[in-house]
Structures are given as structure tokens and as C-alpha cells.
């Protein structure tokens, strides 16, 4: 009998532990299953959330100084920092400026790119337009952190004031748009840009 008691003393706690273990593990597993069901019902709305596309280029104006004098020439550069490796077929650039008060001359284009099919400042519209195309079938690949010199030009102010250079995105006129066209997909790649504000004094 004593032997049986000893057996009970050993087995009852073991079985109790098993029950506690099952209770904790299985029931908590049940909870997980319920949570999964809840998540699955919400999955549609999660899928609908827009995935923000990463910008492929960061377009910036660069100048030695934003403080300028009337009648004096200053060079402004337009550069694109590659934020994501991409292969391009074409680059359209339009820069909006105040043609009444600023004179833009001496447009210089990137030597690595093919001579643009259009490259001029249009006074009537207050736009600098540059259109590069890459004729090779495979396009041109830009690697991460490459810096592309899109354009440089001289600017001379006719009178004092604060003026801006800004990348045009087709709002004024569809033909004045800025686009980085990807090879094969013909997608216009996303990019960011800054404004250049210059302060002209006499």
C-alpha cells in the first residue's frame, strides 16, 4: 500500500504538470489561431495601403553663391544624385525661371550623355528645356550615389530682387515636364528636387 502511495505521490504531480502544460500551450495556441483569423480579415485593407515608391533621383541646383549682383554672370549647375540604380532611355528637363528679370545663357550639357535633341532657354515661356535621349538599346545605367551633371548655365539678373529657379513638372504646360524615362518599362521614375532662390542686389 505504501508502495502505491508513493506511486500516486509521483504520478499525480506529473499528470498535474502535464495538464497545466497542455492548458498553457494548447489554449494559448487557440488564441493565436483566433488572432490569425482576425488578421486575415484585415489583410485586404493592409494590401490596399499604398507602398511609397522610393525616389530614384534627387535633383538639386548648385551655385557658388545665392547672393548675386545685377549685370554679373553666375554659373548655376543642375545635378542629379542617383538614389537607386536605374537604367534610362531618356531624360527631359524643364527649369522654370523669371525670364523678365533674368537672362540665361551658355547652356552646357553633360558630356557623358548624348547631345540633347533639344537644349535651349525659351524666353517667351520662361523655361530652360533640355531633352536627352539614349539611343543605345541597353540604355544608360546609373549606379547608386552617381552624380549626374544634367546641365549648367549662366544667369545674369537685369534688376535687383529675389528670384527662383524651379524644376517644372508639367503644371504650366504639359510640354514643360521633367522626366527620367526608364529603359524597357518606359516608366517615368520618381524623383525629388529643390528650388534655387537667389537674392540679387545692385
Amino acid at each position: 500500500m505504501e508502495k502505491n502511495n508513493a506511486l500516486f505521490r509521483i504520478f499525480i504531480p506529473i499528470i498535474a504538470v502535464i495538464i497545466i502544460f497542455e492548458s498553457v500551450m494548447l489554449v494559448s495556441g487557440l488564441e493565436k489561431s483566433t488572432v490569425q483569423v482576425k488578421e486575415s480579415t484585415n489583410s485586404a485593407s493592409i494590401e490596399k495601403q499604398e507602398v511609397k515608391t522610393k525616389d530614384a533621383f534627387e535633383v538639386t541646383f548648385v551655385t557658388d553663391s545665392t547672393e548675386m549682383k545685377v549685370g554679373k554672370n553666375y554659373t548655376v549647375k543642375l545635378q542629379a544624385l542617383v538614389k537607386e540604380k536605374r537604367t534610362l532611355d531618356a531624360i527631359d528637363i524643364s527649369v522654370k525661371y523669371d525670364a523678365k528679370n533674368l537672362e540665361v545663357t551658355n547652356l552646357i550639357f553633360d558630356e557623358k550623355l548624348q547631345e540633347p535633341i533639344v537644349g535651349k532657354a525659351i524666353k517667351e515661356d520662361g523655361m530652360i528645356v533640355v531633352k536627352y535621349i539614349i539611343e543605345t538599346k541597353q540604355g544608360i545605367t546609373f549606379n547608386l550615389n552617381d552624380m549626374v551633371s544634367l546641365l549648367s548655365f549662366d544667369v545674369k539678373a537685369k534688376q535687383a530682387g529675389v528670384y527662383e529657379f524651379e524644376i517644372a513638372t508639367g503644371n504650366e504646360d504639359k510640354k514643360f515636364d521633367t522626366m527620367f524615362i526608364e529603359n524597357t518599362t518606359v516608366k517615368a521614375l520618381p524623383f525629388t528636387s529643390n528650388k534655387l532662390e537667389i537674392n540679387v542686389t545692385k
Binding site: M1, N4, N5, F8, F11, I12, I15, A16, I18, I19, E22, S23, L26, V27, G29, L30, S33, T34, V37, S40, T41, A44, D89, A90, I91, D92, I117, V118, K120, I122, E124, V129, K131, Y132, I133, K137, G139, K174, K175, D177, M179, F180, I181, E182, N183, T184, T185, V186, K187, A188
Partner: protein, 611 residues
């Protein structure tokens, strides 16, 4: 005591063992139940499955499903219990709308009310008269009383309005043929003597067939064929049986022959009372007085003066024969326009007069009726405002000119350029607008056909040889375009047409370069000469597509158009086929000529020369 303790320890042990075994089994069962529920829930919130029973049969070929009107909706739709409508079945567990949407369409009939084949979300009324909304073809009323109903076509004979009606004399109206659902005529001509049709339910998923025999007449109907012939339709509707009524005539009310009218009774004159003279010898004395027999009373026969239904004119009055044919009565007073003795109707107009229709043509009054066809005014004469007169066409105060234009398109046609993938005629879109037009006035835009002008090419060559000249003829301006107005002409191709032209502006005759709108137009209407020569500044070409789309231009030439050229580079189609989008000159191949066209047009896009 020790024995009791041992028994209790065994009992505890057994209970704990049972618990240890039962716990995982129970857990598994609960999990299974949850899985079932989650499957049923799908994306719409079904949480409980109902069993199929004799009331709710699955559609053919389906072995499982659930009854809509006993299913509990846990999220989007509150529950509704079994109502008075027939149960409807659905099948499958998937989230496919198709399966759910059709669940109400597997039973034919039901107590539907409008709208019968309603779309999701439409308002409806349940058969308890409660306003509801259609959900999966069921009319569910707030607060979801469960009065679901089946909105599918009804049985056909009931739709004809008479359960016993299986014959018709003419094609039933759609509404009559299908009281519920849409009619699809299988044989609407009754070519084999039977009209056949289907009544189709929501989205064509369920239909019932209907048919009706076409008969010559409605069985057993009676009518007067003419004044002295009555007829009755055979009992099977296959034809008429005529009865000659003779002089008795057909009764227009009863539609049968009148009973035989008394023939004219002969006039019987009383015979003269015989005078009997006594012979001299012997003297015979009359024994009494001889009374003549009485004259019979005769009813006069009615005199028929006209046939029932006949009409005649009496002055300005249109008369009709009365129902007994014994006289005329007033039908209509025709008034000033008078009664027409030829047509025996009231005149609508005075014969010979004209009435303006639209588009400068007119109706003519013949025999008091307006003609159904119209006659065009001569030359530039116009008639407007439904004028009625003897001669309605008049010379207009001002005739706006019609423009004829000669144009060319950059890279298209020419001495050495083939256009096998373009026809001889091409379609363009032309917009003519006034310089300094009021805000919102977009001018006149029309789709026009341009035809080749033989052996005429542009002399100004933007790339390669001169290009084929096309003529746009008779582009009519309206009278709001006054002689003192100046106009711009903008020419381009259709969005999805064979050409990929860029809208090109013309503001000057013999223009040779891009025109800047701010220069103002030099096309003065009073000084226009036809044809206007725009062909020495070809319409720009190359608007192939847009960002990530090569089927529709975006109105500008940009890098995406070049990307599309590269993607289609070297591709070709057979002669006569629709050109590839990047085939800008229509020679059926995408090659360097197309690239040159794109390149030159891109440059010209920014050209705005001053004239």
C-alpha cells in the same frame, strides 16, 4: 481509512488522466470549429453554416451550400431569420462575388416585386411593403425582417396575364411576355407559327422559356367584315367563318347579322265592296251587308343612307355615319383649315404651304397633310424656327464661309516615302477658334476626312523630301464667326487613330513655321482664300504614348515617346495593317525614319517663330 484514501487517490488519478487526454482533443475540436467559422466568414462575415434541407436545394451540380435566409451574418449584415419567401441556396465557401451574387437566382418564381432584377444597393420593397435594399438579389428590409425574396423571372403564362392564354394574334409586348426579367426573343417572328422567348433574370443567370401559338384571330371573337358580312373566329383561332347578312346587314354592336328585316309588305288594298245589282227577275234582295276585310297594319322599313363608319365632309364639318346607318352625325368640326373631301379627314395644313424642318429643309402640305419627307432649300437658302409659309426658304443674312485647307504631316507620304499602312484618306481632328475668344469658348472641333491631293507635296522639307499634301474640304463655320473675326486653326489626329500627330497651330496662310498664339492670328475671315495653304509647315508627328502606356498619346512629345520607339524598334507589320504605334510615317516598320520624325518634331514643339 487507508483503503478509502487509496480509492480517492485512484479516483483523482483517473480524473486527471481523463483531463489530460480530453484537453488536447477538446482543443483540437475547438480549433476545427474556428477554422470552419473563419472559412465561412470569408470577407463578408458569414459565421454559421446552415444545413441543407428539403426546402433548400443546391443548384445543379453542387453538393454543398448554405441557405441564405437562415445564415447568420455577423459583421456587415445583421442576421435575418427565415421569412416568408422561398429559401434560396448558395454554394462554395470562396469569396467570389459571383457565387454569392447568384444565390438568389437558383429558384424560379417567388413573390418578387419591383425592381425584379435589381442591382446591388438598389431600393426595393419587400412583399410586406417595407422599404429595403437589394443585397445579393434579395430585398432586405431594415431592420432586416428576413423578408428575402427571389428576384428571377416568373412563369411565362402568368406573365401573359392569363394562365390559360396560350395563343396570341401578334407578338406580345416585352412587358407582357416577361413580367419579371428581361426578354430575349428566340423567335419573335413566329416563323413556325409559335412565338418563342426567354425571360432572363439578373445578369442572365436564370431564364425561363415562354412560347405562344400565333393564330389568325382570337378564338370565338366576332366582328363585322363589312356592312353586310359578319364573321366569327374559329375556336382554334385558325381563321374566320364568314356569314353573309344580306340586306339585313351586320350589327355593329352585336357583331352578328341582324335578324331578317321584314320584307316590304305588299300594299293590300281592300277590294271594292261588290255592288250586287239585283237582276230584274227574279228580284233578289240582299240578305245582308258584306263587310270588307280590314287592311293589315304595316311597319315602314328604315331607310339606310350610309354605311356604318363612313365619313363625309359637310362644309368644315367632318361627319360620320351613325351606328344604324340611317343618317350622318358630326364627328369633328375642322375649323378654319377645313374638311378634306378627298381624304375625308380634317386638314392639318393648307395644301401647297411649306413648313421648316431642321437642317434647312422643309415639309410640303399635300391634300391637307404634311409630307413625311423633306425637301432641301436651294443653295445657301435657310429656313428655321418651324416657319410655315408658301415659300419658307430665304437667303440668310450672313453666310459664314466654309474652309478648305491643305495640310501635310511630318514624315508622311512624299516622293520616296511609302505609306502602305495608311489609307488614301486619313482622319484628322480640326479645331477652329477665334482669336480673343471669350473664356470657355473652345471654338468648333470636328473630326474630318482628309484626302490626298495628287502630285502635291510640301516644298518646305523638315526632314527628307516634301510630304504628301492632303485636303480638308468644306469645314463650315457658323454664323457666330463674323467677317471681322480672326481665327486660329489647330490640326491633330484622333486619340486612338492610326496617326500620332501633335496638335499644330496655324494662324497664317502659307505658314512655314511654328506659330505662337500670342502673336495673334492673321487669318481674317473676310479675307480668307480657299484653300488655306498650311502644308509647308507639316503637322508635328510622334505622340506615341505616355508614361508606361503605348496606346494613347498624351498631347506632348517627351522622353516616353522615345522609349516607345526603342521598344518597338525594328518591328514591322504587313502592308495594309494598322501601323505600330511607333511607326510614325505609316511605312509598316519602326526604323530610323520614325526616329528622325520624332526628333525633328521634338525640336519643333518648342519653336514659336514670329511672322
Amino acid at each position: 481509512m487507508k483503503q478509502n484514501k487509496g480509492i480517492s487517490q485512484i479516483a483523482v488519478m483517473v480524473i486527471m488522466l481523463v483531463l489530460a487526454i480530453a484537453l488536447p482533443i477538446t482543443t483540437k475540436l475547438v480549433q476545427k470549429s474556428q477554422e470552419n467559422r473563419s472559412k465561412a466568414a470569408g470577407g463578408l462575415g458569414y459565421a454559421e453554416v446552415c444545413k441543407l434541407d428539403s426546402d433548400c436545394k443546391p443548384p445543379t451540380g453542387q453538393t454543398s451550400g448554405f441557405c441564405t435566409n437562415t445564415t447568420q451574418h455577423t459583421t456587415n449584415w445583421p442576421s435575418f431569420s427565415k421569412g416568408d419567401a422561398p429559401p434560396v441556396c448558395s454554394y462554395g465557401w470562396g469569396n467570389k462575388d459571383e457565387q454569392r451574387r447568384n444565390e438568389a437566382c437558383f429558384l424560379v418564381g417567388g413573390s418578387c416585386s419591383e425592381p425584379y432584377s435589381a442591382s446591388w444597393g438598389n431600393n426595393c420593397k419587400t412583399d410586406k411593403g417595407v422599404d429595403g435594399v437589394v443585397v445579393w438579389n434579395l430585398c432586405l428590409a431594415n431592420p432586416y425582417l428576413g423578408t428575402a425574396r427571389c428576384c428571377v423571372p416568373d412563369t411565362v403564362y402568368a406573365q401573359l396575364g392569363d394562365a390559360n392564354k396560350t395563343t396570341v394574334t401578334s407578338k406580345p409586348s416585352d412587358l407582357l411576355a416577361c413580367k419579371k426579367g428581361s426578354v430575349v426573343w428566340v423567335d419573335g417572328q413566329a416563323t413556325d407559327g409559335i412565338y418563342n422567348w426567354k425571360c432572363v433574370g439578373y445578369e442572365g443567370k436564370v431564364s425561363v422559356e415562354g412560347s405562344a401559338n400565333k393564330t389568325a384571330c382570337v378564338p370565338n371573337t366576332k366582328e363585322c367584315l363589312d356592312a353586310d358580312t359578319a364573321r366569327v373566329c374559329k375556336s382554334d383561332g385558325s381563321g374566320w367563318i364568314n356569314s353573309e347578312c344580306g340586306t339585313a346587314g351586320c350589327n355593329s354592336t352585336t357583331k352578328i347579322c341582324n335578324t331578317v328585316a321584314p320584307t316590304a309588305t305588299p300594299t293590300i288594298k281592300p277590294t271594292a265592296t261588290p255592288t250586287i245589282k239585283p237582276t230584274a227577275t227574279p228580284t233578289i234582295k240582299p240578305t245582308g251587308t258584306i263587310t270588307p276585310t280590314p287592311t293589315p297594319t304595316l311597319t315602314p322599313t328604315p331607310v339606310l343612307v350610309c354605311a356604318v363608319g363612313d365619313k363625309q365632309c359637310s362644309g368644315n364639318i367632318l361627319q360620320k355615319c351613325n351606328s344604324t346607318g340611317t343618317g350622318w352625325e358630326t364627328d369633328v368640326n375642322c375649323g378654319e383649315l377645313g374638311c378634306n373631301s378627298v381624304t375625308k379627314t380634317c386638314n392639318e395644313c393648307v395644301s401647297g404651304q411649306q413648313k421648316c424642318s431642321t437642317d434647312d429643309n422643309y415639309f410640303t402640305c399635300v391634300n391637307g397633310k404634311w409630307s413625311t419627307t423633306t425637301t432641301d432649300c436651294i443653295g445657301d437658302e435657310v429656313c428655321t424656327n418651324n416657319n410655315v409659309a408658301n415659300d419658307v426658304c430665304v437667303e440668310p443674312d450672313y453666310i459664314a464661309p466654309k474652309l478648305t485647307m491643305h495640310v501635310s504631316m511630318l514624315g508622311i507620304g512624299g516622293k520616296n516615302i511609302q505609306t502602305q499602312c495608311l489609307g488614301d484618306t486619313i482622319t484628322l481632328r480640326v479645331n477652329v477658334a477665334k482669336f480673343n475668344a471669350a473664356e470657355g469658348d473652345r471654338g468648333i472641333t470636328r473630326q474630318v476626312t482628309a484626302t490626298k491631293v495628287n502630285d502635291k507635296f510640301s516644298t518646305v522639307k523638315i526632314a527628307g523630301d516634301g510630304y504628301q499634301v492632303y485636303e480638308i474640304k468644306d469645314f463650315a463655320l457658323d454664323t457666330t464667326y463674323l467677317p471681322s473675326d480672326k481665327i486660329f486653326v489647330n490640326v491633330t489626329s484622333l486619340n486612338n487613330g492610326e496617326l500620332k500627330l501633335l496638335a499644330t497651330l496655324y494662324g497664317k496662310n502659307n505658314q512655314t513655321g511654328g506659330y505662337a498664339a500670342q502673336n495673334g492670328s492673321q487669318l481674317l475671315i473676310s479675307a480668307l482664300s480657299n484653300p488655306l495653304s498650311f502644308y509647308n509647315y507639316p503637322i508635328l508627328n510622334g505622340d506615341i504614348g505616355s508614361d508606361n502606356n503605348n496606346t494613347l498619346g498624351d498631347g506632348v512629345l517627351n522622353g516616353s515617346d522615345f522609349g516607345h520607339i526603342k521598344n518597338q524598334w525594328g518591328k514591322s507589320v504587313d502592308s495594309g495593317q494598322t501601323p505600330l504605334r511607333a511607326d510614325l510615317n505609316g511605312d509598316c516598320v519602326v526604323d530610323s525614319l520614325d526616329f528622325q520624325i520624332y526628333k525633328k518634331s521634338s525640336e519643333e514643339q518648342y519653336a514659336s517663330k514670329e511672322f
